[in-house]
């Protein structure tokens, strides 16, 4: 088309045609159109207000609270996870220690043997000559 490359000129021409037609509209029809327009504008204003209340006016506070709670919950979850890991680790160490102590105290060889320097030296000396070589 002729006006495709000149949008402003095309729009101005459309407006002129519409104005010419509006001038010829019946008064009753024009009044109905005016009321309809007013109702539409009023309804649009109500909708905007409701949306603002739900998300606009309270938006900042709700968003902030939501974000704040998420942060607190994440921190709590992290702390509880760390605490759980600590308890688990401590329990594993206790279990290992309990296992060794129980075996050591109930063994045929007294725990005192391992602390008796005379015995340990004697054992070392014998292990150099016999087949009692023990792991280092």
């Amino acid at each position: 088309m002729k006006y495709e490359n000149n949008e402003a000129e095309f729009a101005a021409r459309v407006c002129r045609i519409l104005d010419q037609d509006v001038a010829g509209i019946d008064a009753r029809v024009a009044e109905k159109l005016r009321h309809a327009r007013q109702r539409a504008v009023a309804r649009q204003a109500e909708l905007s207000l409701a949306t603002a209340s739900a998300t606009g006016g309270g938006h900042g506070i709700f968003q902030s609270l939501h974000r704040h709670h998420r942060g607190v919950l994440a921190t709590l979850a992290l702390l509880m996870g760390a605490f759980g890991m600590h308890v688990w680790q401590e329990h594993r160490e206790l279990e290992t220690m309990a296992e060794i102590d129980m075996a050591l105290l109930s063994d045929e060889v007294s725990p005192g043997a391992y602390l008796d320097q005379g015995f340990m030296a004697w054992l070392d000396r014998l292990s150099q000559h016999e087949e009692y070589l023990l792991p280092e």
Partner: protein, 144 residues
């Protein structure tokens, strides 16, 4: 919820060790009886460890239980360094073959039959040849 994060194996008794001997359950008191006078002085984690041992105690043989009962009190009176050293040497010996472990048992039996002055002579000789001179008293050797 916090407990739910801990392993199921963490029992209530070992999770919080009673500070007072009187607060221990009767069955634990019976097993740990040699520690009654020491209990209040034990650190919390050591109490938990003994409670853990008490949980496993019924699985020991009668002979093991007797030996365990005889040695408990002496064991808690050792210094942390002595207990650590004993554990390390015990663990090393456990890495040896069953024949070697049997030989250690045999040698300990023989060592125990040596006259006291001979044992003392061996201890003194060992202390002299040890790096840094004398360390250890040999007192723990009486821990049976």
């Amino acid at each position: 919820m916090l407990l739910a994060l801990a392993p199921a194996a963490v029992t209530a008794t070992s999770f919080i060790a009673p500070a007072k001997w009187a607060d221990l359950p009767a069955d634990k008191q019976k097993i740990l009886a040699p520690l009654s006078s020491e209990w209040a002085n034990l650190e919390s984690w050591r109490k938990k460890k003994w409670l853990e041992i008490a949980d496993r105690y019924p699985k020991m043989t009668r002979q093991e239980q007797e030996r365990f009962q005889q040695r408990m009190r002496t064991w808690v009176r050792l210094t942390p360094e002595e207990r650590k050293a004993a554990r390390e040497k015990y663990r090393n010996i456990q890495k040896a073959s069953s024949e070697q472990r049997e030989a250690v048992k045999q040698l300990w039996s023989e060592y125990e039959t040596l006259p006291d002055d001979e044992k003392q002579r061996l201890r003194e000789a060992a202390a002299k040849s040890a790096p840094g001179g004398a360390s250890g008293t040999g007192k723990a050797g009486q821990n049976r």
